[in-house]
């Protein structure tokens, strides 16, 4: 009897051990470095004539005519007013006398390539837009809309100070960071909306092809150019604006800007573009 009990206990212990092993293996299978290599290889194989750094130019890297138009447009770039406004806003003190520079490493200059980052204290991804609004609130100012002009102007200036610097997103050795990365990846590939599109439908399967009059941008380097002036919007737009409008265009109800899903998505998309230069602020058709 005692022997039987011992055998049963051994089986139970073995089963429990297996149960614990399965999630551990699942967590182990998250390999951002391998994902990044496969992601970049996919694009460089699909567009062998393009240099890696050219992908940050979005649709302009996909189409020769558009590229020529863009070169001309860059003589008097449409984001210039926003950039100037952002520079002024960045230097203007809050009511308490402090400035944005006081909230960021290196006084906020040349740091765009490090955002978003995983905040180990909070256990969540922090984007540049979120950090800017937190800075405002910490200094007694009202937060800006995540999708409108003021936020676009500030991020345009910060991106400009990082132009040419390679995207450099870190994933710390923290299971929560890996989980955030994985959730961002899942969001990117998940079909949603009545049109049953995922982000990947347009930006992995169809870059360079037209969707109505638009030439679709490749996912690789897509955030390196943010924020952007879009002719379609007749104005500037942030990463938050891009994500929410993508969702509504496929007939999905957008989430709130800076909801966890969007923060994780930005983390994933930025990480797989590591090494490509920051080119923001950008201009798009």
């Amino acid at each position: 009897m005692t022997r039987r009990l011992a055998i049963r206990a051994a089986f139970a212990a073995f089963a429990l051990g297996m149960l614990a092993y399965v999630p551990a293996r699942a967590a182990e299978s998250i390999d951002p470095a391998a994902d990044k290599a496969a992601f970049q290889k996919f694009f460089t194989s699909k567009f062998p004539k393009l240099k890696l750094e050219d992908f940050v130019n979005g649709p302009y890297s996909m189409n020769e005519d558009l590229h020529k138009q863009w070169e001309e447009k860059e003589q008097f770039p449409p984001y210039e007013f926003s950039l100037e406004a952002g520079k002024e806003m960045f230097a203007t003190p809050f009511k308490n006398g402090k400035t944005y520079a006081d909230c960021f490493p290196n006084q906020g200059i040349g740091i765009r390539q490090n955002y978003p980052y995983f905040d180990e204290k909070e256990g969540k991804v922090v984007t540049l837009e979120l950090a800017l609004n937190r800075c405002r609130e910490a200094n007694g100012e009202a937060p800006f809309s995540y999708v409108k002009d003021d936020m676009a102007a500030l991020t345009a200036y910060m991106a400009f100070t990082s132009r040419g610097k390679p995207m450099d997103i870190k994933i710390p050795n923290d299971p929560r960071a890996l989980e955030a990365y994985q959730k961002g990846k899942e969001y990117f590939y998940t079909r949603r909306g009545q049109l049953n599109f995922s982000c990947a439908t347009c930006h992995i399967q169809s870059p360079g092809q037209r969707i109505r009059a638009e030439v679709l941008a490749p996912a690789l380097g897509i955030l390196n150019a943010m924020p952007i002036y879009r002719s379609e919007w007749s104005g500037m737009g942030t990463t938050s604006r891009r994500f929410t409008t993508c969702n509504s265009q496929i007939r999905g109800v957008p989430l709130n800007p800076q909801d966890d899903e969007y923060r994780n998505l930005e983390y994933y998309l930025s990480y797989v573009s590591n090494g490509l230069p920051i080119s923001g602020p950008g201009a798009r058709p």
């Binding site: 994902d35 496969a38 992601f39 996919f42 990846k185 899942e186 590939y189 998940t190 079909r191 949603r192 909306g193 009545q194 049953n196 995922s198 990947a200 439908t201 992995i204 399967q205 509504s248 007939r251 999905g252 109800v253 989430l255 899903e261």
Partner: protein, 104 residues
Amino acid sequence: MSAAMRAIFAASALLIATATAALAASEADYKAAYAAAETANKEAGLLRNQWTTTASTLAAAKKAGEAGDFDTAVAQAKEAEALAKASIFQATSEKERWKDMEVR
């Protein structure tokens, strides 16, 4: 007209009147259909996957219901419920299917 013919006419008229009454939707039908659609859409919301078309169809149902056009209201509410259920199916099936699209 013979008595038999009159009886047939009377029966036909009665049948048509009953059938019409049965087909016309009532306010209660609208409220039940709307509630079912709203419940399904809330479930889609919990899955973070509502569709804009569900919202606009629900709004159309409400507008028709408030105008007393219960036939349209019920039809729109049923359409909204079907859309919400499709979005729930999409969210559920994509929990695993997203991996098929992944670049590896």
